[in-house]
């Protein structure tokens, strides 16, 4: 069971990475217009510098 000493920190770390990523996305406003983003990717006009 010594492996637990590694596995538990690893799983906690990975979970923490996910949590941090979520906070980052929240901060960047990636959940602000889900419908719009879903449609924007399909539109025809090519944009070299898409708006954030």
């Amino acid at each position: 069971m010594d492996v637990l000493g590694i596995l538990i920190p690893v799983s906690l770390f990975l979970g923490g990475v996910g949590l941090a990523a979520f906070f980052w996305m929240l901060k960047r406003g990636q959940f602000d217009d889900p419908d719009g983003d879903a449609h924007r990717i399909l539109r025809d006009d090519y944009d070299d510098a898409p708006k954030g």
Binding site: G18, L19, L26, F31, D33, P34
Partner: protein
């Protein structure tokens, strides 16, 4: 139970219900100056089209569409006004309304939504990790391994529970302080008791620890709370959006200079200029100018009235042909419009206090759970004389009965349903409106402006001589009067060419006159051309000294009106048409759209009285209306809907608002609300069944942490999935 939570929030959009985190409005460019509501957009083409149209306007630096909220935020020079942009979009084929960004201020409430979401994310993280550790214990870890698992769980769960559960603790404390019980009291008690006994057990190398249950409880309840918050927030934002729709401005004349000021700055004695086509912002007396005014919104009359020096006008009426100078007699709070709004407030206060399904459930639930767990604890203490065992049992009972499913049952359904309705172009302003809509059995429609667009359509043009029609077209094209515009459009569509006229001029308040083949021709009001005023909407054409030729109009049907009426009939609803318009106009219209029950020439008080009478007979009335004369009836009805074109007083009085021009979502809304109500009661049944099955285990002392976790997750999942079944 939602009524016990006092969350107010920002404009979260219900349409993005599927996404975990639509944080409304944060997407607006930081220094957005103008905001437009775009009820009609729905696809990628619309986004591109709107943004391209807006960017093409000189002075616009940036335009960004938010499809979820159906809004566009525009950054532009000071010279560009939102009204201009709305016009540009209308011309490009997109329905657009100006919004007042000041009213949509969101910083405070937006922060609350984010806060809730962050707690939810932390709870999820902690729950997953603690569950993972618990799996080891469930599958038989013993001795020091189990203790280690418990200690690590405690290290994760305790800080997480303290952080995530804060909304519950705050709410429970504020309820207890005023000696009241709400749903958060059993929740808080369960969390604290579970963590407390688990910590004690862990210290003494006990077998059972409920850390996973405590944090899972937090997570599920926060999820329900977040959904609930978003529905409320979008209801609130709906109200804000409506307030923002009507941007009250006036042109004030001072020392010969015209300046645009907010209506709130006007005082009695000021002179304001009302352009043709503009809405009169204040109550006042005309000092100069002549025109016709449209009182349809105030009284339901479809025939415009004459206004000249000395005429009294009130806020909300629309000036049609000529510019008017109006001396303000009352502005802002003192106007007739506001007095009616006050009447509505009184009517609403008198509206029977509707208790939502959730509140009914919560009333039974909160005391029941406490009694149950106290009884279980006392029973076990008498039986074993062991305080540790009896506290363990009490914690288990509280955890098992804890309203995870109950807390999710209503928010999940209302979120799903209001999201569907929003996508169909309907804003729900009131949290319980959907439940009330489900009970409706009678639908009362207003005519002018609701079933009709309030825009006239000429009829019987083919009966008139072709030459006369050419003259009529020539005259009509010189005026911006709605009748003239409708006439010229209809004649153009028929391929009529305008006659060549000389000395064309508009006489505001009367009509248009010119010379044709050396004889005077006039198009205008009955009195002006020497004809008898008719009882239906009409304008008169006079050529030379011949008798005037009446050109009659009917009101054009609002798109989707016929479909809505048919669909509601098919659902077995009793349908009544009630209007302030003349008998003839109402009867012929009712026959056309297929409504049998008709009441014409109704005064505002009669409308409200009729609705109240229906309610007294036991009918659940849905009132659909737009005018000021409908407001009291809207407030008196069981539930009410108004179109976006309605006056803000009427929109304020109604529970739901149609965003687009189309009326057909009404029938859908009724159908969806019936289904939603069914889902809510199904969810309550499901949650109750789970409790009834699991509680005996808990009381018997057989509830292991595994059973608690299973019961909790299974019931929460079932109710959420059942809610998503809503079509």
């Amino acid at each position: 139970m939602s009524a016990t939570y006092e969350h107010a929030g920002p404009a979260a959009c219900p349409a993005c219900a599927g996404a975990p985190a639509a944080e409304a409005l944060a997407d607006l460019p930081r220094n957005a100056r103008l905001m437009l509501s775009l009820p009609g957009i729905h696809c990628a083409g619309c986004i591109s089209g709107v943004e391209r149209a807006l960017m093409a306007v000189p002075g616009v630096q940036d335009a960004r569409v938010n499809l979820t909220l159906k809004r566009a935020a525009v950054e532009a020079d000071a010279a560009v006004s939102a009204a201009d942009l709305a016009e540009v979009l209308e011309r490009a084929g997109y329905e657009a309304h100006e919004l007042d960004p000041g009213v949509l201020a969101t910083t405070e409430s937006d922060r609350r939504g984010r806060d809730l979401l962050m707690r939810l994310a932390v709870a999820f993280f902690a729950m997953m990790n603690v569950m993972l550790l618990s799996v080891a214990v469930w599958s038989g870890a013993e001795g020091s391994t189990r203790d280690m698992m418990h200690w690590i769980s405690a290290a994760i769960a305790i800080p997480a529970v303290i952080f995530c559960g804060r909304p519950f603790y705050v709410s429970a404390w504020s309820a207890l302080r005023v000696r009241r019980l709400n749903m958060d009291v059993p929740i808080t008690l369960a969390i604290l008791l579970a963590v407390g006994t688990s910590l004690y057990e862990t210290m003494h190398s006990g077998k059972h620890a409920y850390f996973d249950a405590a944090i899972a409880l937090c997570f599920f309840l926060l999820a329900g709370r977040y959904l609930d918050y978003r529905t409320r927030a979008s209801a609130r934002s709906a109200a804000q959006e409506l307030a923002a729709l009507e941007v009250p401005r006036a042109l004030r004349l001072r020392d010969g200079q015209e300046e645009t000021v907010s209506v709130s700055e006007l005082a009695a004695g000021d002179i304001v200029r009302v352009k043709p086509g503009g809405r009169i912002p204040v109550d006042g007396r005309v000092t100069d100018g002549a025109s016709e005014i449209d009182r349809a919104l105030m009284t339901g009359e479809s025939l415009p009235a004459y206004a000249g020096p000395g005429s009294v006008v009130s806020a909300g009426e629309v000036n049609l042909t000529g510019p008017l100078m109006v001396e303000v007699t009352a502005a802002g709070e003192d106007t007739a419009l506001h007095r009616i709004a006050d009447l509505v407030a009184v009517a609403e206060a008198g509206r029977n206090n509707y208790t939502s399904l959730a509140d009914q459930a919560a009333k039974l639930y909160a005391p029941g759970v406490h009694i149950l767990s106290v009884l279980a604890a006392i029973g076990w203490w008498i039986y074993t004389q062991d305080l540790r065992v009896s506290l363990n049992i009490a914690a288990a009972v509280l955890i098992i009965t804890c309203p995870c499913a109950l807390g999710l049952a209503v928010p999940a359904v209302t979120t799903a349903a209001s999201g569907r309705l929003f996508r169909k172009g309907m804003l729900i302003k009131d949290g319980t409106a959907m439940e009330r809509l489900a009970e409706v059995d009678t639908v009362v429609f207003d005519k002018t402006g609701t079933l009709t667009l309030g825009a006239p359509q000429p009829v019987g043009l083919d009966r008139h001589p072709a030459e006369a029609m050419q003259v009529a077209l020539g005259l009509a094209e010189a005026s911006a009067h709605p009748l003239a515009e409708a006439l010229s459009k209809a004649l153009r569509d028929r391929g009529v060419r305008p006659a060549k006229l000389d000395d064309l001029r508009e006489v505001p308040g009367y009509g248009v006159e010119a010379r044709w083949h050396d004889q005077p021709v006039r198009l205008g009001r009955a009195g002006w051309v020497g004809a008898e005023p008719p009882d239906i909407t009409a304008t008169f054409l006079q050529i030379g000294s011949a008798a005037a030729l009446p050109l009659t109009f009917t009101d054009s049907l609002r798109p989707g009106a016929a479909e809505a009426v048919q669909a509601l009939k098919a659902q077995g609803k009793r349908i009544v048409l009630i209007s302030g318009d003349t008998k003839g106009a109402v009867a012929s219209f009712a026959a056309e759209i297929g409504i049998d029950e008709v009441i014409a020439e109704a005064l505002p008080a009669e409308k409200a009285g009729f609705v109240a009478g229906l309610a007294a007979e036991g009918a659940r009335v849905l009132m659909v209306g737009d005018g000021l004369n409908d407001t009291a009836a809207l407030a008196a009805a069981h539930v009410s809907i108004s179109p976006a074109s309605a006056l803000d007083a009427s929109r304020a009085a109604s529970d739901m608002v149609l965003l687009g021009r189309d009326l057909s979502p009404i029938a859908d809304a009724v159908r969806i609300s019936v289904v939603a109500r069914k889902r809510i009661s199904e969810n309550f049944t499901l949650a109750t069944v789970y409790n009834v099955l699991a509680v005996p285990f808990a009381i018997a002392g057989l509830a292991t942490p595994l059973i608690a976790a299973l019961a909790m997750s299974a019931s929460s999942l079932t109710v959420s999935l059942n809610a998503l079944r809503l079509k």
